[in-house]
């Protein structure tokens, strides 16, 4: 019979049973696929903190920009309409043909915009009257004037703005697009 209570026996058994083993080949793949991009820094900031800060800045900047843009364009459209009274004010081009206005906009701002054709007999609520050049800050823009029922409506088309709100397929920018636009000013 062995001396089961001997310390040496116990140690040898523990060493034998707790001995080293080989890591599975799949271990590197697990690590490689899931590890984050390495950024060696002396005192790295938590990534969530950086992400939150960036999002906050972007959000604040975007909100400020949109707010300023909408407000300035809204004020501009209102002012232009007031100056034109009921739509009979000075226009650089007077035409009810959307295609002609589109060409004029192309010539003045060098980009394409598509305007809906409301000249049909079934759609008399919104009729193009004409357009003229205006300025939004330092940028040239076009004010397109509509007759909307008994009143007037204005749409400002500015170069370099996001795609058309209502028409969607415009390659230029259309900040105020008919009755769908929040920036359309009706009087």
């Amino acid at each position: 019979m062995a001396d089961f209570q001997g310390g040496e026996w116990l140690e040898s058994q523990l060493a034998r049973q707790l001995g080293p083993v080989a890591a599975p080949d799949s271990l590197w793949l697990r690590i490689h696929e899931q590890r984050r991009p390495l950024r060696v820094q002396a005192n790295p900031l938590p990534s969530w903190l950086l992400a939150a800060a960036v999002l906050l800045l972007l959000g604040a900047g975007l909100a400020w920009r949109l707010g300023a843009t909408n407000e300035s364009l809204q004020m501009l459209a209102n002012r232009e309409l007031r100056e034109m009274g009921t739509g009979s004010g000075p226009l650089d081009i007077r035409s009810g043909d959307p295609g002609e206005i589109e060409s004029w906009v192309k010539a003045k701002l060098n980009y394409d915009v598509r305007l809906a054709d409301h000249s049909g007999p079934s759609d008399q609520t919104l009729q193009i009257v004409g357009a003229r050049m205006v300025r939004t800050g330092t940028s040239p823009a076009v004010l397109i004037v509509y007759r909307a029922g008994q009143g007037s409506a204005a749409m400002i088309v500015e170069r370099g703005r996001p795609a058309a709100i209502a028409f969607g397929e415009s390659r230029g920018s259309c900040l105020l697009c008919h009755a769908h636009s929040a920036l359309l000013v009706l009087r």
């Binding site: 062995a2 209570q5 590197w28």
Partner: protein, 193 residues
């Protein structure tokens, strides 16, 4: 191809962003990390989780390793912490028990021996499962990596005297718990390689 002579050079290469250095460092230490994880948890899936977490910590935090200390000690601390942090602790040592049963089974064992060995296996399982996490990690560092008391003390942040004392207590407890199996024949077991 990374031709670094030692951990220090590999660590420095990692700090410079050399992707191959990470792989080389992993290859050099993967068995060590996985062995500790497996012997601690007793479960291959959990061990892979622990090893993965350890290497992720290593890669992300390698910039903070100052290089003044021993890299292995730093790595041991990482894996020990990963073990102790492991939330899905499986308080069993199944591989240990299975291997113990196989080892203790002598070729000329009879049915009575097998019954005793099976009982020993069950008892061993319960004894090891009942150890505190700190006791288990202590056994693993001692018997999986054959670390000295001083090395273990450095990793666990205590004195070698404390390590010796704790191991002695664990030994006495194990001997006491396993004393009634003193009739098991063990001579053959020692021949296993």
């Amino acid at each position: 191809m990374v031709l670094k002579e030692n951990d220090r050079e590999l660590v420095e290469a990692c700090r410079q962003g050399e992707a191959e250095a990470f792989r080389a460092l992993f290859e050099r230490h993967k068995d060590k990390v996985y062995s500790i994880a497996l012997r601690y948890s007793g479960d291959a899936a959990v061990a892979q989780d622990i090893a993965q977490e350890t290497f992720l910590k290593l890669f992300v935090g390698i910039g903070s390793f100052r290089g003044e200390g021993n890299f292995s000690s730093w790595l041991y601390r990482l894996v020990v912490n990963s073990c102790l942090d492991q939330k899905r602790k499986i308080r069993r040592f199944m591989p240990l028990v299975d291997e113990a049963l196989a080892m203790l089974r002598a070729p000329d064992s009879n049915v009575l021996d097998e019954m005793v060995q099976a009982e020993l296996g069950e008892h061993l399982r319960s004894v090891l499962a009942g150890l505190a996490d700190e006791q288990r990690i202590l056994l693993v560092l001692r018997y999986t990596q054959a670390l000295s008391y001083d090395e273990i003390a450095g990793i666990l942040g205590t004195s070698s005297g404390t390590i010796a004392s704790r191991l002695s207590r664990i030994h006495r407890m194990l001997e006491r718990r396993l004393a009634r199996f003193s009739g098991i024949r063990t001579g053959k077991a020692g021949e296993r390689g």
